[in-house]
Amino acid sequence: MVTNNVRCLEKWEGKLQIDYNEEWAYLDVLLAARDYIHRGYFLLTHPLAGSVKPNQTPFKSIILSEESLEGAEDFRDLTLIEESIEAYHKFMGNRPLPEWSEKSVEDFRTIDLSLMEGVMANPIMNRR
């Protein structure tokens, strides 16, 4: 899991290999995920999961694996991550991330965590 959400780290540290960096912005998480894909990893979760637009939430978590779980088309993951990075730039160009209050920031952590909880509860995660 690549993430900048400390609550994901707290929840799954030791259970997953977690690449966590508090300093990362949303974009850095996308870039870190892209680097993993370049090294042959597969995306398990959609990079834009959440439909909270990239200029709204500071947090992002993405799960990748060395094994693909599905017979996806060859270029799917790379296309997805590039499209996501492009979407990020589009929205940030539109309007940068606001200065959220700590309460809001915590809410965004909760939403991101919740998305990942949904993923972790998926039985497919037990396959590995």
């Binding site: 870039l31 892209r34 680097d35 370049h38 090294r39 590039e82 990075i85």
Partner: protein
């Protein structure tokens, strides 16, 4: 009431200075209207004047983009125009690019509305249609008469800050801006009508086209390898020892061109890898694993290939934005062409 002031840009040909022989002329400024500006002046009527016409040779502009733009800006600025018009360039490619470039610069630097016109296949169209209002013209100067009223209409609207309507109504080339409107029927009904047509095999125009998928058609194969000059390009991050140009280990923003003249193989004393995406130990020991110079030299000697270019082009692939990689390619292909390269081997880790 003072008249609205227009400054008009035209090239060597339309200024009457001449064709190719005058294409190298430097920027000039003339008071008042000249050439196609006379027709524009007449159409705009008595509330408008063409305060000046600026002229530049197409080749001079193309070869000195920045200088030409700066010189022209300094000529235009003192007239404090309310509107800037360039061209129209019709189907003249270099002229089209010049019109687009100067319009964009004037809009940005002087903050006034700008207008140009081109034939839709002019290469300047794809470069500038998203940034500028490019009036749709015919492919030759014979289309001037039809273009003039369109310039007048849009020019007036721009000067007065009136709403610019859709491209078909106003006569400009689509800019690709998505604008809301209220349709007569709701979306679900429109979708069903389209689906029924689609099922019947009738035309069912989409309301939103997909982006163009950028694929390049495969080139014809090499037919005479024994006489072909080959160049090596890599995204494997091989650079001369010390990485003189500081190519990044990931997310590269530059590429390098380095000599392999006279070398029989890639020697680890001369080259290193800066690629941040893989275990570098093997390649550090033997850079031929990324740049197969040793075997290509053999093949050169054996006559399997005609010749090997005496340089390789290199960058780092990992984390590098596709936009950057594209820009690198666009940048160095000119050199490959000039050097008569007939085929490229591109290696990646």
């Amino acid at each position: 009431m003072a008249k609205y002031k227009i400054v008009h840009y035209i090239n060597n040909f339309f200024s009457g200075a001449g064709g190719e022989e005058a294409a190298g002329m430097r920027p000039e400024v003339h008071e008042g209207a000249m050439g196609p500006g006379l027709a524009l002046l007449e159409a705009f009527g008595e509330d408008y004047e063409i305060a000046a016409t600026v002229v530049c040779g197409d080749n001079y502009f193309g070869e000195n983009l920045e200088d030409a733009t700066a010189e022209l800006l300094s000529m235009i600025e003192p007239f404090k125009p309310d509107l800037f018009i360039a061209g129209p360039a019709f189907n003249a490619g270099r002229y089209g690019v010049a019109c687009g470039t100067i319009c964009k610069a004037v809009e940005k630097e002087l903050g006034i509305p700008v207008l140009t016109g081109m034939y839709e296949e002019n290469p300047g169209v794809d470069m500038f249609r998203k940034d500028l209002i490019v009036i749709k013209t015919k492919n030759s100067a014979a289309g001037m008469r039809k273009a003039v009223p369109v310039f007048k209409n849009l020019g007036e609207k721009l000067v007065k800050g009136e709403e610019i309507l859709g491209p078909d109504i106003e006569g400009y080339l689509e800019r690709g801006i998505r604008v809301n409107y209220f349709a007569e029927k709701r979306g679900s009904e429109r979708a069903i009508e389209l689906l029924v047509k689609k099922c019947r095999g009738e035309e069912c125009p989409t309301e939103y086209p997909m982006p163009k998928f950028d694929r390049v058609e495969p080139t014809a194969p090499v037919t005479d390898m024994a006489h072909t000059k080959i160049a090596i390009v890599t995204s494997g991050g091989i650079v001369p020892q010390g990485n003189p140009d500081h190519i990044e280990s990931s997310s590269a923003t530059k590429y390098g061109i380095y000599s392999i003249a006279g070398m029989e193989r890639m020697d680890k004393k001369d080259f290193m890898t800066v690629h941040g995406g893989y275990d570098r130990a093997f390649v550090t020991e033997d850079p031929n694993l990324v740049i197969p110079l040793d075997v290509l030299r053999e093949m050169e000697k054996e006559g399997v290939i005609g010749e090997l270019a005496d340089y390789f082009i290199t960058t780092t692939g990992t984390g590098t934005a596709t936009g950057n990689a594209k820009a690198f390619g666009e940048d160095f292909v000119g050199k490959l062409k000039e050097d008569g390269i007939g085929a490229v081997i591109l290696t990646s880790t």
